[in-house]
């Protein structure tokens, strides 16, 4: 294993900066997807919401007060996804550094991608299955606190479920048939996610007259935005982690880990 100065392991700060950068770019990409695919649905939902506000005594001046116009909110979409992506990229990088110290990785690019995939599953897909995103005009303001707490609880449980899946995978001997390892992983994941789905409350707040196709299209757009964000942050962070500090990319050379030493007793 070459331990020349050119292969100095990156510090936490350099890994963190890679994660923040990957997250910022991913967030802007997700914002672009949301702008193209999601905004038409949001406009349609707001039109329904305002029609309801103007015909009835509904006191939802959330949008009517026009503190920020629709153009401002369209710009704000990029601000929101950019900042959110930056935060997620930084959290991903921090989690990677901490986990990487415990678990050896032959290939940091691959491990970083796997971690982002786990985050996509735990933070997006698990919560989406029970609490899918709602467009404007859907949702009872009186239950926003309960819905927020339940949503966050499911985000945490989603991550715990992914963790349980990896524990299941690692609980089976490495030389066992693959179906046993992946079966154990699925079992651990499904157990935790299933408990979360059963225990956490359900909310049925879609108005009867809200167009079903609009709801479906909005939810797909929301899911797409989040998937774009996490896939992009995973690929970009993985790409940055595949690069050597100072050495540039080295295709085929997998021996000298950029974060060398952690978890592996091979270091002299």
């Amino acid at each position: 294993m070459p331990l020349t100065p050119a292969h100095n392991p990156p510090t936490f700060v350099t890994v963190l900066i890679r994660g923040l950068l990957a997250g910022l770019v991913a967030g802007l990409l997700a914002g672009g997807f949301g702008y193209l695919v999601g905004e038409p649905r949001i406009d349609a939902a707001i039109a329904i919401e305002e029609a309801a506000t103007h015909t009835g005594p509904v006191a939802d001046d959330h949008h009517a007060e026009d503190l920020v116009g629709r153009d401002g909110q369209r710009f704000g979409l990029f601000l929101a996804t950019g900042l959110f992506g930056t935060a997620m990229g930084g959290l991903l990088a921090t989690a990677y550094v901490l986990l990487r110290r415990r678990f050896p990785a032959a290939d940091d690019g691959r491990s970083a991608l796997l971690l982002a995939g786990g985050a996509l599953l735990g933070v997006v897909l698990v919560p989406f299955g029970k609490y899918p995103a709602n467009p404007p005009a859907v949702g009872n303001p009186d239950t926003i606190d309960q819905r927020t707490v339940a949503y966050l609880a499911l985000v945490v449980l989603g991550l715990v479920a992914v963790w349980a899946g990896t524990l299941g995978y690692r609980s089976v001997r490495a030389d066992a048939p693959p179906w046993q390892r992946y079966g154990a992983a699925l079992g651990g994941f499904a157990l935790v996610a299933g408990v979360g789905y059963v225990v956490l409350p359900s909310f049925q707040e879609v108005p009867d007259d809200f167009p079903a196709t609009l709801l479906w299209n909005f939810r797909l757009a929301s899911l797409g935005t989040q998937v774009v964000l996490w896939v992009a942050v995973g690929l970009l962070f993985s790409a940055l982690m595949s690069r050597r500090t100072g050495g540039g990319p080295r295709p085929g050379d997998r021996a000298g880990e950029p974060l060398s030493g952690q978890g592996t007793p091979a270091r002299p």
Binding site: G34, R74, A80, R147
Partner: protein, 67 residues
């Protein structure tokens, strides 16, 4: 387990208190940023509902519960 050089204090070894404190601080800042984007209604940002309304569309599309 070799100890890190002063120039790279944050990578090795397992159990390094400095890394854990740094990670804790970073996570705290990033969670605050996440909160400002996804949940704040002016209580922390002191911007009234301005930031909340500005990032309204993003919050909906990011799947966070909103009104």
């Amino acid at each position: 387990m070799s100890s890190p050089t002063p120039a790279q204090p944050l990578v090795h070894p397992v159990g390094s208190a400095r890394l854990w404190w740094a990670a804790l601080a970073v996570v705290g800042v990033l969670l605050l940023l996440t909160y400002l984007v996804a949940f704040d209604q002016g209580a922390v940002s002191r911007s009234g509902m301005f930031l909340h309304e500005l990032m309204h569309d993003g919050r909906h599309l990011l799947g966070v519960p909103c009104h």
